[in-house]
Symmetry: none
DNA sequence: TCCGTTCTAGAATATTCGTCG
DNA sequence: GCGACGAATATTCTAGAACGG
């Protein structure tokens, strides 16, 4: 893994650029988490600078997605064990929680690693899959044909209409 | 389905609010599609008003996601059979394409839905029927294509013939 | 390998001929990548001089084909480890990515060409052939559709172009 | 065959909305 | 109410696929 997730990096940068915005958001005393002191100002001033929205709840959703936990009842303080002041190198260990359906990768791994031989059901399954594909492709073709049909109509209309106009023009020219 | 997808609705509204922005984007003549006449201005002025970005490519990605097709080689003109000027009620029929990461999910679904009891003959029988259907549908498609081919020929002939006449007309005008 | 790929060479030349076009595109500070500062001007002024188009997206596609990566979220900055200011001799190491049909197609191909796992039912074998034929026929259909699509495009372009000329003609007639 | 151009899709992250305990 | 999460849509970056020179 090369670099931290974009969201994590931006969050860290927001805290790095402290200045007088410490009254809006800052690391906690121990540097083991951060506190949003003023959700309103944070949402209106800082969020739009770093993200494509100004909703505090969306920000919270991202925090949860990356495994941050709210760790106080009376203020907006969040923690993640790998998110610490001064330890930028830990950031890349903070990943999305997405629990990967994992049915898939597992299947791929299995099919590629072990010889497919011997299991009769698999061949039938493959045929099913084959037919599934064919059906989908057929739908695609039908949609394409329909579109060209529309275009054709449009073209035909334009042309005939133009011919009419043109004849009138000739007469009056 | 209650109302159209957000993206579709916004797209329609952009075109509805024509005014003098028709030089940036507008319905085509027949109202069966739309043309982005100036991608630059469209990206800088209109996109940020309706979406959270100003990237033309992101806009294109959304169009493709909802099944729109580019239908001209020299302009940014797009069509979708359910996207027509004046037919707002059709918008809700425009939906996102299912991701179905292509072949795999289909395979998984098929294999999981079937009783794993190794009844190969039954599945083979089903596949036979499946193929039968596919063949019939394919014939349908071929007939359709033949029709459009004929129409196309006529159109092309008319147009070229007209161009010839027109040139003669100009000379003698 | 003798000389760099044409695209890579042109890209390098564009950056070499800096002048006052640095406001359109230039090397980054470190010379480890480049930034397109003004995609609009870049597309309209520079692309046509070096390539056969003026589409920014086509330019991006080429960059990706050769393994360049976008390395900033707020600007069009791209990097490739072998693309550095002053190191012209590295350019020939930048090559097109090989198709590498990924895991999937390979698996599918194998399954369709030869009966998997050796012992497969006769009926299944027939179905395999059936599907093979269906696939071929589908390709035929696609080719036909593509032909009509091309014709359609040309027709449409011709017609619209002609209408424009015609209007001009009328005014001056 | 390889490269370039175009159009569309895949895949990952981001944003929004709603629900559940 | 509240904190966490699922799911749908949106945005971004990269790749697939077809065609043509």
């Amino acid at each position: 893994m090369r670099c931290p997730a974009p969201f994590i990096l931006k969050l860290y940068e927001i805290l790095e650029e402290g200045h007088d915005r410490n009254q809006i958001v800052s690391w906690n005393k121990e540097g083991t988490g951060f506190v949003v002191w003023s959700p309103d100002e944070f949402s209106e001033l800082l969020l739009p600078r770093y993200f494509k929205h100004n909703n505090f709840s969306s920000f919270i959703r991202q925090l949860n997605t990356y495994g941050f936990k709210k760790c106080a009842t009376n203020r907006w303080e969040f923690q993640h064990c790998k998110f610490q002041n001064g330890n930028r190198h830990l950031l890349q260990e903070i990943t999305r929680k997405k629990c990967e359906p994992s049915v898939f990768p597992a299947f791929l791994k299995a099919s590629s690693s072990e010889p497919v031989g011997g299991v009769v059901d698999e061949s039938s399954d493959l045929l099913l899959q084959e037919n599934e594909n064919l059906r989908k492709e057929k739908l695609e073709l039908q949609m394409q044909i329909h579109q060209y049909k529309s275009l054709q109509m449009k073209l035909s209309d334009s042309l005939s209409q133009y011919l009419v106009n043109q004849n009138q023009f000739r007469r009056t020219c």
